[in-house]
């Protein structure tokens, strides 16, 4: 069953096309990677899916229901959530409070378990504040713990891997797999390790979906392919073109 379906989604801001006629589907339990070079429109797609920005055109369906015009809260109540590429900071709110409100639970066993799952020691982090004092990688992992506790139907994880050190990467990968065992994940990433756990990948280039398919296949050529994403002819044989250019 399609848990999420994106139909002809377009976004234009101040006359500039950010992305155009984007189509893809996410199946139940699927880890669906969204990849592409910097500035190709991945985070913008995530924003529109979560309802932070209204699309110029197109529709979004969650479990068959059209959610295109729903508020952020109503989307979240139906099981959609987003972990931002740059998670924001909150003055005066402890990790414990933050996880309680995100997981709708005050059960300390579950909260501790969520922190352990992302590789953060509860004894060190529960009383820390979710403010500027956390490092980038710590903040990301707390956001992931929060998503884990939410038990979402669809989690959009925007570069949850960036800033996370190589020791913690395993924990983060495991957490994503666990989240996907109960729901689906839209995984925005630049890292091959993360692509490996994906079932499907959609390649975005200049705001356009180039293709959806096997993540290994797509990752192999995407760096070359994206170099010519605005030129359909040259894109047909990306590697050759790339070698010609770099010569």
């Amino acid at each position: 069953m399609n848990l999420l379906e994106v139909k002809d989604l377009s976004l234009v801001i101040d006359g500039k096309t950010i992305f155009k006629e984007v189509n893809f589907k996410i199946l139940k339990g699927e880890i669906h990677a969204l990849i592409g070079v910097n500035g190709c429109g991945k985070s913008s797609i995530a924003s529109v899916l979560m309802g932070l920005v209204s699309p110029t055109k197109g529709s979004i369906f969650l479990a068959g229901e059209d959610i295109t015009n729903l508020s952020i809260t109503d989307r979240a109540k139906r099981g959609l959530t987003l972990a931002w590429q740059e998670p924001t900071r909150f003055e005066g709110i402890s990790v414990k409070q933050y996880l309680e409100l995100s997981g709708k639970t005050k059960d300390m066993i579950q909260i501790r378990n969520a922190l352990n799952t992302v590789g953060l020691l509860p004894s060190l982090y529960l009383s820390r504040k979710v403010d500027k004092s956390l490092s980038g990688g710590e903040r990301k992992r707390i956001e992931l713990a929060s998503v884990y506790l939410l038990k979402p139907k669809i989690a959009i994880l925007d570069e949850i891997d960036s800033g996370v050190d190589y020791v913690a990467i395993e924990k983060v990968l495991e957490t994503i797999k666990t989240i996907s065992s109960k729901g689906s994940v839209l995984l925005i990433t630049h890292q091959d390790e993360f692509l490996k756990i994906a079932d499907v990948a959609t390649l975005i280039c200049n705001g356009i979906v180039l293709r959806t398919g096997n993540p290994n296949e797509i990752s192999k050529y995407y760096k070359y392919e994206c170099a010519f994403c605005d030129d359909e002819e040259r894109r047909k044989n990306p590697l050759e073109e790339f070698l010609n250019v770099t010569g």
Binding site: M50, T88, L101
Partner: protein
């Protein structure tokens, strides 16, 4: 204690306890304390190291609190300035002297549960002698209606290597009119932090003027203001730092969040008389951060729930 006074005492302790204050500590004389209803002292307890006395003045009292040299008071000193009547004026002049190397925490609770038209004036002189440390925490509990005018004012002298931390909180009930006027003079290597957290609603008016004079070498000061305003509330924040000696440092950090038709201003004043004095300030006035709101809403919270959590965090 007369029957009336006992009743007043019980009533004030009841309100304090309900608001989360440590009324047991006062009732059981677990530390030094003083309780005032309007212009009358209805309870006082000194300890070996903390001596509290008072005398009557027009519309109020003059209180003397002295912590003896080298004394470290383990338990907080509780001062409860209550006003059970609906109307009236309460004047508290205080002289607080913290002896050399002494250490104490004073918790001052200002309780006006039945306020209809009340004026509360505090005028303090604080001296923290060499190496001493004072944490002074003032929390106000006002009724949700009524006209209250609060005028907390003090001048503090913080001697060599002494420390003074002042926290003023007014988060519950209606502020009314509030005029804070603090001036702290820091001597050599003295430290101060002035924290003010206020939630203004309806037609509340808040003016806070806090000044730190860095008079001695290596003195350090911080003014931290967090003011949240909704409805038609207004606030004016004035933070003044004055560098008068070498290697001194002060920072003003003021955030004002405005909602509805509220208005806020922040006026930092930096006066440097010394090139090696480093004075900085940051002031931010604006709506609740959109991204913070969206982050919480993406977890299923409504906008109002999200606002409450963000505001509570800022004022915590």
């Amino acid at each position: 204690m007369s029957l009336d006074r006992r009743k007043e005492f019980e009533m004030l302790m009841d309100v304090l306890g309900k608001e989360g204050g440590d009324s047991e500590a006062i009732k059981e004389n677990l530390g030094a304390s003083m309780v005032l209803n309007k212009d009358e002292v209805i309870h006082v307890n000194s300890t070996k190291g903390v001596i509290i006395t008072s005398e009557k003045i027009q519309d109020g009292i003059k209180a003397h609190i002295r912590v003896v040299d080298n004394h470290k008071e383990e338990k907080p000193v509780h001062l409860c300035f209550g006003m059970l009547p609906k109307e009236g004026r309460q004047v508290i002049e205080s002289v607080i002297i913290i002896g050399k190397n002494a250490k104490v925490k004073i918790m001052s609770h200002c309780i006006f549960p039945n306020a209809v038209n009340i004026e509360h004036i505090m005028d303090g002189k604080l001296i923290i002698e060499e190496g001493g440390e004072l944490i002074y925490e003032e929390e106000h509990f006002h009724s949700d209606t009524g006209k209250i005018k609060v005028v907390p004012k003090f001048e503090a002298i913080v001697e060599k290597k002494a420390k003074f931390f002042n926290n003023f909180y007014l988060k519950k009930g209606k502020v009314g009119e509030l005029y804070i006027d603090y001036h702290v003079k820091l001597k050599e290597s003295a430290v101060t932090e002035l924290t003010t957290k206020i939630y203004g609603k309806e037609d509340d008016f808040i003016e806070t003027k806090e000044k730190i004079s860095l008079e001695g070498e290596n003195a350090r000061g911080l003014i931290l203001g967090r003011i949240v305003l909704k409805d038609r509330a207004q606030s004016k924040f004035i933070g003044i730092t004055e560098g008068l000696a070498p290697n001194t440092r002060a920072h003003v950090d003021c955030t004002e969040i405005i909602m509805d038709q509220a208005k806020a201003s922040a006026i930092p004043e930096i006066i440097s008389h010394h090139p090696s004095s480093k004075l900085t300030h940051e002031a931010a006035i604006g709506q609740i951060d959109q991204k913070q709101l969206q982050t919480l809403m993406a977890k299923g919270l409504t906008e109002d729930q999200a606002i409450e959590i963000i505001v509570n965090g800022i004022l915590s």
